[in-house]
Amino acid sequence: MSDSTMNFGYAKSSVVGAEELFTYEDVLRARDRLKVLKSRAAKSSLRLLWLLAGPGVLVMIGENDGPSMVSYATTGATYGIGFFVPFVLLTFLMAYVVQEMTVRLGVATHRGHSELIFQRFGPFWGYFAMADLLFGNLLTLVTEFIAIQAGGLYFGVPAWASVAIGVALVIGSLAFRRYATWERMLMGLAAFNLLFVPAALLAHPDGAQLTHALATWGPVPGGFTTAFLTLVLANVGATVTPWMIFFQQSAVVDKGLTRADLPQGRMDTAIGAVLAAVAAIATLVATAPLFAAKVDVSQFANGADFATALAPLIGSTGASLFALGILEAGLIAAMTISTSSSYSLAETMSAAETTSARHSLNLDFAHGRLFYGAAIVSTIFAAGVVLIPGAPLLVMTLTVNVIATLLMAPALLLLLLLANDTEIMGDLANGRLANLAGGTIVVAIALVGALYGVITAFPNLLSN
C-alpha cells in the first residue's frame, strides 16, 4: 500500500463521483458544511455568519499579540491620545485589505497558502516561503511566551509555572483533533482581548479629546522625531505580519468555506479587524495616563511593567485587567502562530510529495504527526528559550519584531501575485481597484519594514 493510499483509510464512495475517495477529515468537514447549508436554506443570516465566522476574527485578534500590545502601550504612554488613535484604525484597514485577499484565495482554490506557492511557483520559492514563515514564527512564539510569563509575574505566578501552563494550554488545544472545536475555543479566549476596554474606561478618557484626535489626526507632542517614526513603523508591524496571511488562508480551507461563503468570510475579517482595532485603541487609551504623568517607559521590558506603572494611576483593578489582557494576548497568539507553522510545514511537505502529510485540525494524531508535531515542537522550543536564566528578553522582542517586519515584503509580493492569478482565481482575481489598494499597501509595508529594520538595527543613523 502506498503512502498516499494509506492516508485515505475510510471508504470509497460513489456519492461524489466515480472512483473518488474520501477521508475522515472530509467527513468532519462535511458535518460542519451541512449546518452551513441548512442555515443558508433557512435564510438565517445571523446563524450563518456565526457558523462561518472564525478565521478572520482569530487572525486579527491573534495579531493583537504580546509584542503588539506592548507597542500600543508604548505609543499611548509616549504620545497620549492624539495622532495614533486614527492611525491605528488606518493600519487595521490595511490589514483588512490584505487579509481579504487570503479569503478569496482560500475559497477559490481550496488550498492553503504554502501549498499554493509551492504548486504555482515551484519548489524553490515554496521552500523559501515556508522557511521564512517557520523562522519568523519560531522567533515570534518566543515573544508570546515572554508576554505569558510577564502577565503571570504580575499576579505573582512564577515564570516557570506560567510558561508551563501556557505550553499545556497550547498543546491541549490541539488535543480535540477537530477544527470547529479548536476554533470556537479560541474565539472564546479571543473575547478576553477586550479586557483592555474596561482598563481604558478606568483611565477615564476624555471623549472630546478622542473625537478631536479622530477628526484632526493630532496632536503629535514633540513633533515628527525618529522616536515618532519608530512608533509609526512599530504600529504598522503590529498589525500586518506574514503568519496572518498563511494562517487565514489555511483556516478558511480547513473550515471548508466556499465561494458562496465569501460575503460572510469578508464580514468575519471585517469584524475581526474592528474588534482588534478597538482593543488596540483601548490599550493606547489605558496607557495615556502614563503620558500625562510623564512616566519614562523607555526601559520597560514587557506588559507587566506597564501594568505595575498603571496601578497608581488607574487603580489595581484596571492594572490587573491590563496584565490579564497581556497574558491572553500572548496565549492566543501562541495558539494561532504555532498552528500557522503546522499548516505551512505540512502543506509544503505534502505539495513536495516528500510525505503523505495532511494539514488539518480535523486530523487524528496518526495521520497528522507532522502537522501536530510542528506546533508542539515549536511551542516547547519557544517556552524553553524564555526560561533560560538571564535571557535578554527585551532585546529579543525588539529583534523579533524587526525580523518579522522584514519578512513581510516577500510574503506580500507572493500574495499579490497569487491574488492576480486568473488561472486559479477565475472571477475572484484582484480587480483594478483591489490591485491599486493592495499594491499600494504592499509597497508601503515593504518600505516600512525596511525602514523599521534600519532604524532599529542602527538607532543612531537618523540622529547623526
Binding site: 461524489v16 515551484g122 532585546v395 519578512l407 515584503a409 509580493l413 488561472e423 538595527a457 542602527f458
Partner: protein, 63 residues
C-alpha cells in the same frame, strides 16, 4: 466509525482531500516578476544577518 455517506455531498467536489491532493499546474513567471522575487530574496538574506548582528552587538555592549 459510522457515518452517512450522503453527508459527503455537503462538500463541493474540489474540497475533498483527494481533489486537493492533485497539484495545480506550475505557473510561468515573467522575467520582471522573477527579478523582483530574487531582489527581495537577496534583501532578506542581507537584512536578517544584519539584524542578528545588531542583536548580538546590543547584547555585548555594556549599558
Amino acid at each position: 466509525m459510522a457515518y452517512d455517506p450522503a453527508l459527503i455531498s455537503a462538500l463541493e467536489p474540489g474540497q475533498l482531500v483527494a481533489a486537493t491532493m492533485r497539484p495545480l499546474p506550475r505557473r510561468k513567471l515573467s522575467k520582471g516578476v522573477l527579478a523582483l522575487l530574487v531582489l527581495l530574496r537577496v534583501f532578506i538574506l542581507i537584512a536578517v544577518p544584519v539584524v542578528i548582528y545588531a542583536f548580538v552587538h546590543a547584547l555585548l555592549t555594556p549599558h
